[in-house]
Every structure is written in structure tokens, then in C-alpha cells.
Symmetry: C2
Subunit: 366 residues, 2 copies
């Protein structure tokens, strides 16, 4: 690598977190040239990129000079997975999860190509990846709420009344970051509030409590592949499927119940990225409307899922979840039968590409 050319690059290179560059891959799903990376260069250039090209595989995606990357298009996915490629969505950013599968690193950061570097209230550029790494490397506290938010943040701690036996926390599996400017709204809310922008900088990270589900957005997300990777499946969306824009939601519901079961933590809050462009609400409405309807049954399902004690690995949990999806959600629509089958295929494909992780057992069950 060249000498750092700017103050930001020098600061990034000097950070101890910079050392994770050999343990973290950045996964970007895209259909266009990755000019957005120019703005991220000081923060992301040290890291390896896995680019998952969606749509027409004959198109050439340009990546700015100086970035180290591998790129997979649909032909590559089909070649690598064979018939199991059916579990990877096409013409939908859900295809990004292929990148999680082919990575060999411990951590993943995934970001959309319409997300730019945000500024904190002092005007300083936010190093989103650095904050994600902080979130992932410090424990989570899912069993009791800390009113001063992340007790492991600088200048914070557990407050009076927080049980001492719970202060060790649990390993953090997922770090969910937020978005300034264009908020992540559904189509109906986009239509009703076309001009709403998120300008509120909330200086907090918090653990989502055990037993509580949340809407996980895939735009600005990091996770520990070793701890939760096999559950980070973004489902069947896009071409040939009845819904879209529920890929990250599906993954969020699945990872949360599995993290709760295995005693792993999920954090949300900082870091912010700057989300530049609202997607078309009319197109979104077409993609979402079945999901908006179905989620009224899906969420109660996930709220009452119980995983058996002997589901001690992410893979075992996920296969069990697929079974329950087929049993309980198959009634809603044949789509869920297909999705449950794809969940099993996904695990087979994951284990095929990651043979040593297949029997890896995470954390404790609970």
C-alpha cells in the first residue's frame, strides 16, 4: 500500500482496529460502477472487497483503482454453487448473501452502493467500519436494559441496579448501523412523507434485548461470520419471487431468534452512513405489498419460535427454523414452502464452501 496521503488515512492506518483488515471482508451488491467507493477510500481501501454483481452478467462493473477486490456475477454463482445456486436471489440485492458465503474471513461489513460517508454533529467524517468493529469486539447485554445505553462505550458503564452477574455480557454477533438523510421507510410511509429526512444524530449503541425482534436493514450492517454467518441468509427475493425488500428483514428475524437461543448479542445504533437516494416508492409498493400483509403473521411466528436445546450450532438452529417455517408459514402461501427449502439449500451450500464450520458450536444455548 502507498503512504497515507491524507490526515484521515493516517488516522485510519494508526488505529488498532485497522489491524482487522486481514479478518474482515466488505460485501457490496451492485448493478453499477462503484464510484461511491471514492468517498470511502480513506476508510475502506485497506480492506478486501467482495462484490456481488446483480443482473446482467455481461455488463462490466468498474471498481475505482487501488481497491483489492473479487467480483462474482450470476455466471460465477451458478458455476460455484451448481444447482444450489437456486437459493441465491437474482435481480435483487438479496444476492449479497452469496458474498457472506464465499468469504473466508471472521467478520463481514456490508454496505449499499448509494450509501456515503456521514458526518457527526461536529462535522467530522464518520468512520462507519471502525464503529462497527468496536460494536462487534465489545460484549452485548441482552438480558437487562442499561439506561445509559452501551455500558462498554467510552465514559459509560452499567448503572445502579444492573445485576453484577450480567455485566460480563455475551459475544456480539451483529452490529446494525443507521442512516442519516433518507430513512429506511416502507413504500406507504415513503408515499405519505416524501420529504422526510433523518437529521437526528443519536449518539448511542444499544443491545436489542433478548426476546425482542427488530427490523434489520441490510444497508449498513456488520456481523461475525463465525458466530452467526450461516443464519445471515437473505432469502428468495427479486426475479421469479412474489416479494422484494424483505430480504434483510427475513435475515433479521432469523438471526435474532438464533442469537437469543445461542446467547449471542445484536447491537443497533451507531454508526451512521449518509443514505443518498430514496428508491421509487411505487416500485417498492409492488415489491412490498405481500410482505406488508404477510409480516402480520410472520412476526408472531418468530415471536413464539422455540428452538430445541440440542440446536447448539447456527446450522442446526437454521435447519430447525426452516422446518418450522414450512410447518407454520407454509399455510400462508406456497412461497414459504419454497423459502423453507431454500433455507436448507443455503445451509448445504454454506457448509460445502465452509467445510470446517459445519459442526462449529457457538456460545451456550438458552
Amino acid at each position: 500500500m502507498n503512504e497515507p496521503a491524507t490526515a484521515i488515512e493516517a488516522a485510519v492506518a494508526a488505529s488498532p482496529l485497522h489491524q482487522l483488515k486481514d479478518e474482515l471482508d466488505i460485501v457490496i451488491p451492485t448493478i453499477r460502477n462503484l464510484d461511491f467507493l471514492e468517498m470511502w477510500r480513506p476508510f475502506l481501501q485497506p480492506y478486501h472487497l467482495i462484490i456481488v454483481q446483480d443482473g446482467d452478467p455481461s455488463k462490466t462493473i468498474k471498481v475505482p483503482n487501488g481497491f483489492d477486490y473479487e467480483l462474482y456475477n450470476r455466471n460465477d454463482i451458478n458455476r460455484i454453487l451448481g444447482p444450489k445456486a437456486s437459493c441465491i436471489s437474482f435481480k435483487d440485492s438479496a444476492c449479497r448473501c452469496f458474498g457472506y458465503m464465499v468469504s473466508k474471513k471472521k467478520y463481514i461489513f456490508t454496505i449499499d452502493d448509494d450509501c456515503f460517508v456521514a458526518k457527526d454533529p461536529s462535522g467530522k467524517a464518520i468512520n462507519a467500519l471502525e464503529q462497527h468493529i468496536k460494536n462487534l469486539l465489545s460484549p452485548s447485554t441482552p438480558f437487562f436494559f442499561n439506561t445509559l445505553y452501551d455500558p462498554f462505550a467510552d465514559g459509560a458503564d452499567f448503572v445502579r441496579g444492573y445485576p453484577f452477574s450480567l455485566r460480563e455480557g455475551v459475544p456480539t454477533a451483529v452490529s446494525h448501523g443507521l442512516w442519516l438523510n433518507i430513512p429506511d421507510y416502507d413504500a406507504p410511509t415513503q408515499l405519505v412523507k416524501p420529504l422526510e429526512r433523518n437529521t437526528r444524530f443519536v449518539d448511542a449503541v444499544l443491545t436489542i434485548p433478548k426476546g425482542t425482534l427488530f427490523p434489520m436493514c441490510g444497508m449498513n450492517l456488520a456481523f461475525d461470520r463465525q458466530l452467526i454467518g450461516p443464519a445471515m441468509y437473505f432469502g428468495l427475493m427479486g426475479e421469479g419471487q412474489p416479494i422484494g425488500r424483505y430480504d434483510d428483514m427475513w435475515a433479521g428475524w432469523c438471526i435474532k431468534v438464533i442469537c437469543d437461543h445461542l446467547g449471542l448479542g445484536v447491537k443497533t445504533g451507531l454508526p451512521y452512513i449518509y443514505h443518498s437516494k430514496a428508491s421509487n416508492p411505487f416500485v417498492n409498493l409492488r415489491k412490498e405489498y405481500k410482505g406488508i400483509y404477510w409480516q402480520e403473521d410472520i412476526i408472531p411466528f418468530f415471536q413464539q419460535v422455540v428452538l430445541p436445546k440440542d440446536s447448539t450450532s447456527v446450522q442446526k438452529c437454521y435447519i430447525e427454523l426452516a422446518k418450522q417455517v414450512k410447518e407454520k408459514l407454509g399455510k400462508i402461501d406456497p412461497y414459504f414452502d419454497k423459502l423453507a427449502d431454500a433455507m436448507v439449500t443455503w445451509i448445504q451450500a454454506w457448509d460445502g464452501l465452509n467445510p470446517t464450520s459445519a459442526s462449529f458450536s457457538n456460545g451456550k444455548t438458552g
Copy 2:
């Protein structure tokens, strides 16, 4: 009332929230002159104060001119409650809950006399009471986490993937505010981090999810008396009791399980007050050490409490809780037998002073 003399007073008087002045009492427990009210004058002077004088009843507490107040000392409490006065703590700020009981208003704001007006990052004085009222008058969302925090805040909403059936929310029963400067730490943390100050202004309010307990601090707290008042008992602390500094914690555990059962919401976050002075950590350690030990059993107890379907009022829930406390926590120490009895006495005293609320049924059970 005189004409508003300052810009702040004019703004407060013009606020629609000012109209709550006939529906809200401010409860302050104290052992000293209430000079701290001078700083709060622009915000709190329109409201009625209930001052609960702790300690020596022969001492005179001075209240700054212009405040409308009633004051109760120990003699008053004994006279009003007779033998039931045994449920009100002495020589401990837990005595404040007597003020909740004698109020006839719908809302309570309680604040400690070492809490001052905080400033937001722009340097503007924070009207804590106005924010509490906003929190109480807008719904809570305990069944699913919203990643942009309070969806009812200005410029915010429910994010993509939030079930539409849950967007109406539930009535908010409690608003828990935070503290800048001296954080609310337990004695061991105070001892280890004597210089730590809370300088992080987190611009958020959030609902504590259903099924999650939190450490409720009584320093800066507001609630809806009609919805949850009878559960806001601060227990037996201070003189003659084996513990202190767990009064608000006890109330917090009780109100949370009852709110969860009745389908009511608890919010935490904004507003901040400025907490001026750390209490003596050595004295605190003496008061707390049994609580620190006992809470390791108390919290699992509250985490698994189930209230029966026919507990449809706060009073019924609270009596049931007292029964379970006696059964399950009585084993830890005879103190819990005494506390369980005091919980029943508290409800009898509450119903005696609030006869029409005795059979009032709140919300829906769940």
C-alpha cells in the same frame, strides 16, 4: 399568576403542554431548603408541588416564594395514614411515594433536590417536564423495536418492516429521564470511577420492550397516576430496614411487569437533568450491599413472574405480586415477608385515599 417575566417563561406559558398544569403534580422528597427550585422556576412554577419532608419533622423547610405547594412531614403522614403509615419509609427518599398517594392529579413528575436544569448540545436549557409530558402523551411501542427510536418524535416514524398492526402503540404509563454530569452508579462503580461524568447527550426516547426489565431511577421520573400509580410504591428503605437505594429499583421492577401484563408502555431517554452531586460511595455501599447480593435472585424472580388473566387492574396485579414476593423471595430473607406485607398495606392506604380508583381497570391484559 404574575405576567411572565422572561422569554423562557413566555415560551412555557405559550406551550400547549402548559395546559397540563391542572393535571400534574410535582413530587419532591427533601430534608433541606428547596433553593434548587430557583433554577427550575421558569419551567415548574406554574405547577403544584407536593413536598415530602423526610427526617426530623420539627425542622422548617423553606420553599422559594411564588411556588404553590403542600408539604407533608412525618407527623402528617402518621396522622393521615394512621397504622398504615408503616408502609412509608423514613429517613430515605423512598418516602416520596407518599406524595404519589395524596395527589389527586392524573400525572406525577418527581425530581430530586440535587437535580438542576441541563443544557442541550446547543446550549439551550432543557424543559425536562415538557419532554416528560410529550413522552407520556404519545404512545409506546413495546412489542417490536423501532431502530429510529421513538416513532412519534418529530421527524421520525416507523421504519420499513415494522408491522402496521402494531403502529397504534399502547398508552404510555412511565417516562424515565436521564442525567448529565453525575451518572447514577452503584457504590462499587462510584468507588472505581470516582471521576466519571456523563457528558453524552443521546437525543432519543425509546420504549423498553415488553419482557425486558430496566433499572428505574427515581431522580427524574414522570408517570400517569391513573394508569400505574398504585404500583409506584418505593418499598421499605431507610431507618429500621436492612437496605437503601433500592426504592426506585423495586418500583421499576414492579411497574415493568405490571405494564407488560396490562399492555402499557414504559419509555426511557430524554429528558436530561443535570445531576450536581455524587452521594457518598462509602455510605452508599453500606446501604446497597445487601441489595447488590439480593438482586441476583430478585431479578430472575421478576423475569419469570406471571400475573393471572383476572388481574385486570393495577391494584389486583400489585396484590398478586405481593403474594408471589412473599412465596418466592421470602426464602431469601425475612425482609421480603415484611416488604410483601407493606405492599398490601400500601394498596389499602392508596385505595383509602383514592376511593374511586380502587376498582378502576386499565388497558387490556396480555
